[in-house]
């Protein structure tokens, strides 16, 4: 709408600015806290302007032993663990659901709809509900304290399967018929036609699933006992509890700051495709 209403402009800007401030303030505080020395962080009032210890904290956090007194892995290790887990979950989920959606949409086999509904029903069973049996299975398979154990139990996705099913249903049948006449076998069609046509949806889903994987807390907490396998999200919480002394806010906040970077990076890198994937209807 192109209208010249200065008061309305002012009000909308004001609302937006207040909104940004509310969202940004905690992040700012995190950043500020990560730039001070531990002593300053214990004094009230908490600082609102950055200090001069950013690099020092950065190096200590990333490569040091973490908190003094607690035996945690260096944060780069946690970042690596989290990244591996999130990537395995996101890529695994996308690969599996693409294939299952392909099967459900393009192949006729007995109980096809039955399988579809079975997959769909698992939406009602998130990790938290099935956590005991899943733990049992993972433990028996010897996957505790491993990347497989972190990712495999979370890798099936009804949501993604359902979404890809919907995407495939919008692709006209002529596309399949035309490729059949061109001589493409099913997997060729899948690879040459379906995947490129779902590219934006895959990107959108990747963003969502990566963040889902990155933010996993309960499951990694259960199955990782070895400090080399801890993920960054769970260790932030551990850092708060572990030390018997004062929490070292500068280190904790630096860790939190580092934990935020990969998801932000993924969102920014994929933003264009992400928006296209959620809004595009033209096939």
């Amino acid at each position: 709408m192109v209208q010249n209403r200065p008061i309305l402009d002012l009000v909308s800007h004001l609302v937006l600015i207040i909104g940004i401030l509310i969202v940004a303030l905690p992040i700012w505080i995190t950043f500020v806290a990560a730039t001070h020395d531990p002593l300053r962080m214990t004094q009230a009032p908490i600082p609102l302007l950055p200090g001069s210890y950013f690099w020092e904290n950065f190096v200590t956090t990333l490569f040091g032993k973490g908190l003094s007194g607690a035996e945690t892995a260096p944060v780069w290790r946690m970042l690596f663990n989290s990244l591996s887990m999130a990537m395995m979950i996101a890529i695994g989920k996308i690969a599996i659901s693409l294939l299952s959606a392909f099967a459900i949409v393009y192949f006729k086999f007995p109980f096809r709809m039955g399988f579809f509904w079975l997959i769909f029903i698992t939406l009602m069973l998130p990790v938290e509900v099935r956590i005991l049996p899943t733990f049992e299975v993972v433990a028996n398979l010897g996957m505790l304290n491993s990347y497989w154990g972190l990712s495999v139990p979370l890798i099936a996705s009804a949501t993604a399967t359902f979404m890809f099913r919907q995407v495939f249903l919008t692709i006209p049948d002529e596309m399949l018929e035309s490729s059949r006449i061109d001589g493409a076998k099913p997997l060729r069609f899948f690879w040459d036609i379906l995947i490129p046509l779902s590219r934006t949806n895959i990107a959108a889903l990747f963003v969502i699933l990566f963040i889902y994987g990155w933010n996993q807390y309960l499951w990694p907490l259960l199955i990782t006992t070895n400090s080399d396998m801890t993920t960054i999200v769970m260790s932030i919480k551990q850092m708060l509890e572990s030390a018997e002394q004062q929490p070292e806010w500068n280190i904790i906040m630096m860790t939190a700051l580092l934990a935020m970077i990969p998801p932000v990076f993924v969102v920014i890198a994929m933003q264009k495709l992400f928006v296209q994937g959620l809004t595009e209807t033209d096939k």
Partner: protein, 350 residues
């Protein structure tokens, strides 16, 4: 190059039979247009020939080979779809070359054939564009290019022009005809548009409710329609039908007027006269009460009802005419232009 043979083709969906015992031979290099109203089974027939639909019973052969159980890719056919079915993520070049690439043909050969086809169709300059950057007519050409590069034995067209605007349709119709003659590839073309069918086909197969009503050249169909359905379907505006009776004295129309024609039949008949075969004749026996006149420029269409009845009649008259609503105009028709049908079976009597 190949002939196509359809023998006793039957197609059922569940309990519903949509094609009933269909037969026909398509000669080498011929273009046959399958025409009929929507739901008559014409697209189903084409898709059965393409291998996209299973054949319930009967046989289809292309060349000397029975293709019933062959995959579409192994039938040596190419198909042009109504909505073009171009791959949106591939450039025109890739779209045209995709079938060849799958067949593992060498890159240079693919490139050569794509260039050649693009030149024939006049789309050389669009080769690197994506389908969405092209207009409807250009996409249509690409879809045809994709068929040409494969150099198949048979082209199948499934209403390829129905997404184009009227003017472009006329132009593309001519181009398809020229192209088909130039490449001399046996072709089957499905459409519901009878004008398209008449102009494009060497022969027409008129399909109605899964049955072949008539299979012949456009002129045969126009001059000697075998059934009421064909008579009404071919020609625009469509034929006028008047219930009548045949006695030894000739045809007696339902309003009592007489027409001359020799027939070996007695009893109730239905006569058909094309609008363009009604000639204004003061002494004529076909009297029409005018309702309105449509001016088309080169000719005029007079809409009215047969005197003393409410049977609607259209007469096409040359030039510009004026006729008041309610006034009566008399027409006659040559004996050869009066078609007689059995109203019960719909078959031609003479």
């Amino acid at each position: 190059m190949a002939t196509i043979k359809l023998e006793n083709l039957i197609k059922t969906y569940g309990d519903v039979e949509v094609l009933h015992n269909l037969n026909g031979n398509i000669e080498d290099g011929e273009i046959v247009v399958v025409v009929g109203p929507s739901g008559c089974g014409k697209s189903t027939l084409l898709r059965m020939i393409a291998g996209l639909e299973k054949i319930t019973s009967g046989e289809i052969s292309i060349g000397a080979k029975i293709v019933n159980d062959l995959e579409p890719a192994d039938r040596d056919i190419a198909m042009v779809f109504q909505n073009y079915a171009l791959y949106p993520h591939m450039s025109v070049r890739q779209n045209m070359g995709y079938g060849l690439k799958i067949r593992k043909i060498r890159k240079q050969e693919i490139e050569r054939r794509v260039q050649e086809a693009a030149e024939i169709l006049g789309i050389s300059e669009y080769l690197d564009r994506k389908p969405r950057q092209l207009s409807g007519g250009q996409r249509q050409r690409v879809a045809m290019g994709r068929a040409i590069v494969r150099d198949p034995q048979v082209f199948l067209f499934d209403e390829p022009l129905s997404n184009l605007d009227a003017k472009l349709r006329v132009q593309m119709r001519l181009e398809i005809r020229k192209l088909q003659k130039r490449l001399n590839v046996t072709s089957i073309y499905v459409t519901h548009d009878q004008v398209e069918a008449m102009t494009l086909g060497d022969r027409l197969m008129v399909l109605n409710d899964g049955v072949v009503e008539q299979f012949g050249t456009p002129i045969e169909l126009y001059d000697n329609p075998e059934t009421i359905f064909v008579a009404g379907f071919i020609g625009s505006p469509s034929m006028n039908f008047i219930p009548a009776e045949y006695t030894t004295k000739g045809i007696s129309l339902c309003n009592g007027k007489k027409l001359k024609k020799n027939l070996k039949y007695k009893g109730k008949i239905s006569i058909g006269i094309r609008p363009e075969h009604l000639e204004e004749d003061k002494k004529g026996n076909i009297n029409i009460v005018t309702q309105m006149v449509e001016q088309l420029g080169s000719n005029s269409l007079l809409h009215g009802t047969l005197q003393d009845t409410d049977i609607e009649i259209v007469a096409s008259m040359p030039g510009h005419i004026t006729a008041e609503a309610g006034s009566m105009v008399s027409f006659s028709a040559k004996e050869t232009n009066i078609h007689v049908f059995n109203p019960k079976t719909g078959k031609r009597l003479g």
